[in-house]
């Protein structure tokens, strides 16, 4: 690592010294191209965020791509129905690495107000790894901007040698659920999602630790 004082001195002379990793992350975080698709009312807020008033272009994320092959970010904006879930997972699989997911709004996070419905997926994180969750119903455009900034911070902190896409053993292909007779099969991808622990699990673990 280069000494911070020396770096500052060099900068004053117009010489910028950075690590390859910093440059690599800076390049990626400054041009996050989202996949252009919306599922429900959150998409309207996403459109507003991309339009002139909120101007997503300020963060380099304005180039909505109509094909997953050119996209870096999937903004799951809206209710994911069980009928739609296989297509969402398939689109995510078709995106090249490095790729990120923002779950926008209560529905994409957990099913939201439709959680008890028979036809709604109870959170897109059951099938694909979500990087940033935005609560809200729908979240305001500012919230989406905040999520983009949060994602940029996350990208800044990534180390090239520890990323998923350079790890030969890591999964980059996520199994697409099948439409079954009563429900999607499987109901969740256990590699990505586990049911949350309840208070008894936590107390059990604590008691075993103590003993």
């Amino acid at each position: 690592m280069i000494d911070e004082g020396l770096k500052s001195e060099l900068q004053k002379q117009g010489v910028f010294v950075v690590s390859t990793e910093w440059l690599y992350n800076w390049g990626r975080k400054s041009s996050i191209w989202p996949l252009q698709f919306g599922l429900a009312c959150c998409a309207i807020e996403m459109i507003a965020a991309a339009a002139a008033r909120y101007d997503l272009a300020r963060f380099g994320a304005e180039v909505f791509r109509a094909t997953p092959r050119q996209a870096d970010l999937m903004i799951v904006a809206g209710t994911v129905t069980k009928k739609m879930a296989p297509q969402v997972v398939r689109l995510f699989n078709q995106m090249p690495e490095p790729k990120y997911v923002i779950a926008m709004g209560a529905c994409a996070i957990s099913g939201g107000p439709f959680k008890d419905g028979y036809n709604v997926l109870k959170g897109v994180d059951r099938y694909i790894p979500v990087d940033v969750h935005i609560p809200g119903c729908p979240p305001r455009p500012e919230a989406l901007l905040h999520a983009i900034i949060t994602l940029q911070e996350k990208i800044t902190g990534q180390h090239i040698d520890q990323t998923r896409w350079y790890d030969a053993t890591a999964t980059t292909e996520f199994p697409i659920p099948v439409c079954g007779e009563h429900d999607l099969l499987p109901a969740a991808n256990p590699e990505v999602w586990q049911p949350p622990k309840d208070y008894r699990d936590v107390t059990n673990e604590e008691s075993t630790k103590k003993s």
Binding site: D183, P195, D198, D201
Partner: protein, 187 residues
Amino acid sequence: MIPTSEQLCAAVPGAVIEIVPSTPAAAQPAMLVDREHLVAVARYLKNEPSCQLDFCSCVTGVDYLAKGFIEIVYHLYSVALKHGPVVLKVRAPRELNQCHVPSLTTVWRGCEFQEREAFDLYGVKFDGHPDLRRILMWNEFTDHPMRKDYVPPADYEWEPTPHDEVLKRTKAAGGIMPPSAAVEVKK
């Protein structure tokens, strides 16, 4: 003018028509027609010059689990004469193999999608429908979710606050559960 049940019975010989009263607030009494004469009654209501109910705005089902039948409800309007709604009802047994009513797609073309929806969610088969497929749920789906005895899949996780009914349903269906709840089921 909307014909009375006597006029309808005279126009469609053999039709059994019953007026079903509604709540005073709704003020929409319905005409309950027998299945055999439904198409003839519908065609009369559409073609009769004094009535001209040319628009079927809504087709839906109502599941009467205790009484053992499913009611299909049609809401009819006349765009030409600016009156309506006229509520037309028809009943079919709840059993899936007997749950048939004649399709009114031949009378009102707009019934097509709405009857598909009623088929999808209530399991009512519309005889004579040109394209009776599921419209909302996927094709592989076998249930009819709006029926009162439908059991939804237990794909929800343990609720943050213990939730009796949710836990019971999850256990019964062998759904996704956190470790401690799964242990309880094994016991």
